[in-house]
Amino acid sequence: MTICDETVAAAVADISEGWSCLPVGDDALLVTGSSHYADGDTPEVLVRIDGAEVTVSDGGETLARLDLAGVNIETGRARQMWQSLIRAHGLEFADGRLLVHGAAEEVGTLVVLMTEAMINLDGLRLLAPAPKQPPFAERLVTFLQAEFESVEERPELRGRSGSSYRLTAAVGREDRPVYVQALAGNTQPARIRAVEHGFTVFSDVNGSLAPQQKLIVLDGTVEQWTPGRLALLEQVAYVGSWNARDRLVGFIGADAPPGSRLLLDDGEQLQTAG
């Protein structure tokens, strides 16, 4: 036996050890392959033999994995590569499933073809956009979604001036939501502009909303924000901060509004008047 024979025999033994099959339902087989995706998972295909015909399907697994990885195959480069690889492997794509048809005696070839295609297509996950630090408004919305069943993103409000505004979220009771505006800024001028925006929005919609339906949430702690300008906000809305998130939850869920319009943590101090 040559070293080549031994190497090939070892590879074949390893491959054959991985293959497995389970009948599922009346007419289908679940076949597990011997190759693996990058995360170590193994492609599994569904096989249906109907007389002299066989159909092999990925059962939607490939698209589901890419979807979970954040790849949208309906646009851009991912779409092009998806279509190219499907053509290259001679597959059909229908209703979210990869399919290949052939004669029953070809079942082995078709199953191997499908598992190889699934692994190759799974490589498109590398096209997933790199995750970025979400902006403050997005973090706030995710936070609110974890706390409340009803969270409307970017609700529209119209002011007395006729201007319309997209706020960050509307949260809580659907018949009487709390409108939330996130304010953030990395520099003092940016924070000033953010405050001016928040003040304008909630001044303009004054009268159409009860005070307890207007909430401004500041990124970071209130100490980062100029006290005098926060006094302006306090006149038109309740004001909370990211660092005092529990107070936000309590405020939105409360039946009666708190006395102070500043929703501070015990450790936070702010003098806005005088």
Binding site: D39, L68, A69, E147
Partner: protein, 168 residues
């Protein structure tokens, strides 16, 4: 923003992270999958999400995951197949759970405890509830607030063949 060991450690440290599922799942469906994804309360204010995905053609194969910054901190694959490159351990249609690390990304799995078995035939909606809540228990995610089990909106075949449609 990338997932790091430090972020994972912060999330999985139950006493400080205080993970809690406070809202019901909201399901959405595509051609071959139904999926729910919800934000998870945590003391760090991290944008953490919990998801559950079911393949309609393989309703016995269920994925439940805890996700942040596009990476999966943990992913439970019920009745899935996997091989660890680290120690060679192999799962064939057997429940395993991926745990993220910077060294191995999501390629390392282990056999989780207390995840109920799901049959390959006649999967019941109750099976999905049990899997989700067992996953939460194992990840120290308490169930509170207005959380209540919400069943997936799907037609469950006893077993499905290629091309969908399912059996009976």
């Amino acid at each position: 923003m990338v997932l790091t060991d430090q972020v994972v450690a912060a999330i999985m440290d139950a006493p400080t992270a205080k993970l809690e599922l406070r809202v019901p799942l909201v399901w959405s469906s595509r051609d071959t999958t139904v999926r729910a994804e919800v934000a998870v309360h945590n003391a760090h204010g991290l944008p953490l999400r919990l998801g559950m995905q079911i393949l309609l053609d393989k309703p016995w194969k269920i994925s439940v995951y805890l996700m942040i910054y596009g990476g999966q901190v943990r992913r439970l694959d019920v009745n899935g197949s996997h091989r660890n490159r680290t120690d060679g351990e192999r799962w064939v249609r057997r429940t395993h759970k991926h745990r993220f690390s910077e060294a191995h990304q999501d390629a390392e799995a282990y056999t989780p405890s207390d995840i109920p078995a799901v049959p390959f035939q006649n999967v019941a909606v109750e099976d999905y509830r049990q899997v989700l809540e067992a996953f939460c228990d194992e990840c120290a995610i308490t169930l509170g607030g207005s959380y209540a089990w919400q069943a997936p909106t799907m037609n469950l075949p006893a077993a499905a063949g290629p091309g969908g449609g399912g059996g009976s």
